[in-house]
Symmetry: C2
Subunit: 224 residues, 2 copies
DNA sequence: ATGGCTAATTGATGTGGATCAAGGCGCCGA
DNA sequence: TCGGCGCCTTGATCCACATCAATTAGCCAT
């Protein structure tokens, strides 16, 4: 069931793009496919981890739990995205929980082996450094957003960041995840998210039809 | 005025610890001392940066500004700590502002030169990867704390993390920075911080004498 | 000393979002 | 077809913290 992935399935990821065929082959030999159904757990926080992952299809949520069981989604990882690379250098323990939001196929890369590759390949190192730096910047921006912006504003940003297709009335987007998951990601309660949606709709900025959102006034949305 | 620092002044930092004498000498040649008075700006957000820094004495605050001028301190960097390493891989732009809280002496390392060293020294690469991973984990923890914990709890954590010396009545700590700076770091208003201090004091958990805080009940403080 | 800073405290009031509670609605399985 | 069960919504109330405002206390610089 676990066969080694084709090189072509991961060579286009930014981290691997510059590598030569031989190296890619070695990486592939130390990688395996991983399949998850919706709701399946990939790893738990604190668990010793020997892999990092590339999402080929599906969605993975990375989250933390407060001691009263409240879940806070840190990030939703989608197709062609790499995650948990940092586990290789952090005492091997995952800093978050990871479960599948929908059925998903991942490639699991062997972390210890990858470290030996890093030791011999400075370019690979630099690529990984760049990737981590980008993620750090994103985290700093997230802290900024969480502490200095209102819920409505965070939702506006989120909506504007979604892929959309244009129609006569405005940009239409389909929410990729359930509303309660969006609420967790934006760090607000589902009830509050619902109220913000209706307020933005009342103000004519958006139109809501279940998970189909039309941005009627994207310019005003940006200004919130 | 800018003379190159002695090797001994930075060789003990975790990032440099494993390096041989020759490499250290090269690094030193591309490094300079930087002196700042209290309030001096080291760099601004968005500025193109060609250096990363090691604090030898003093304190540097890293912060963001909201568009209405509100300042949010992300981190206070103290002696023997390295910061802004990530700027080497992030399009060269600093993601935060940095100013001195008190007069400070720093070593400024040349980032482009350091990248050439990384290319030739996998061990150095791995050290930097480890450092960035640790910082990322800290950021994740910070998000967790900011979004899932009350102000009182964040203050308790902060106090417990400070260096203290024990006395008969409890652990005594001297706040290293002004209370309003602590408030910004914990993302609460100075007024609210003041009220939390008096509440904790009323409850007998701590005693406050200006910037001298005695932890009377550290165990209870941990439980908040 | 004196005036003018800024930090810190304290009180009164306002508010965004959480919490508690009660339906409505789509979807799926028997 | 009918429950049943998440998900979403809507309303009422609550609370932590922000905001606004006034006062006091240290701390230079003149």
């Amino acid at each position: 069931m676990k066969k080694t992935p084709e090189i072509s399935s991961f060579r286009l990821s930014p981290l691997f793009r510059e590598l030569d065929r031989d190296l890619l082959a070695q990486i592939a030999q130390h990688a395996t496919w991983r399949e998850l159904d919706a709701g399946d757990q990939l790893f738990a926080k604190g668990e010793v981890g020997k892999h990092f992952f590339l999402v080929k299809t599906g969605l993975i949520k990375l989250f933390l739990l407060s001691e009263d069981g409240q879940e806070h989604i840190m990030e939703i990882v989608g197709r062609e995205q790499l995650f948990a690379e940092a586990v290789m250098f952090m005492g091997d323990r995952y800093p978050v929980y990871a479960t599948a939001l929908e059925s998903s196929r991942l490639i699991a890369f062997d972390a210890p082996f990858f470290v030996t590759l890093l030791r011999a390949n400075p370019d690979l190192c630099l690529g990984l450094l760049a990737s981590l730096s980008r993620q750090m910047h994103a985290l700093v921006t997230e802290i900024d957003g969480l502490t200095m912006q209102s819920g409505a504003r965070r939702l506006a940003r989120y909506l504007l960041a979604q892929p959309a297709h244009k129609t006569a009335t405005g940009r239409v987007i389909a929410l990729p995840i359930a509303k309660h998951a969006i609420a967790s990601l934006l760090d607000i309660r589902p009830e509050t998210l619902s109220r913000i949606f209706t307020r933005l709709a009342d103000d004519g900025l958006i139109a809501v039809d279940a998970d189909r959102i039309t941005l009627l006034q994207p310019a005003l949305l940006k200004q919130i």
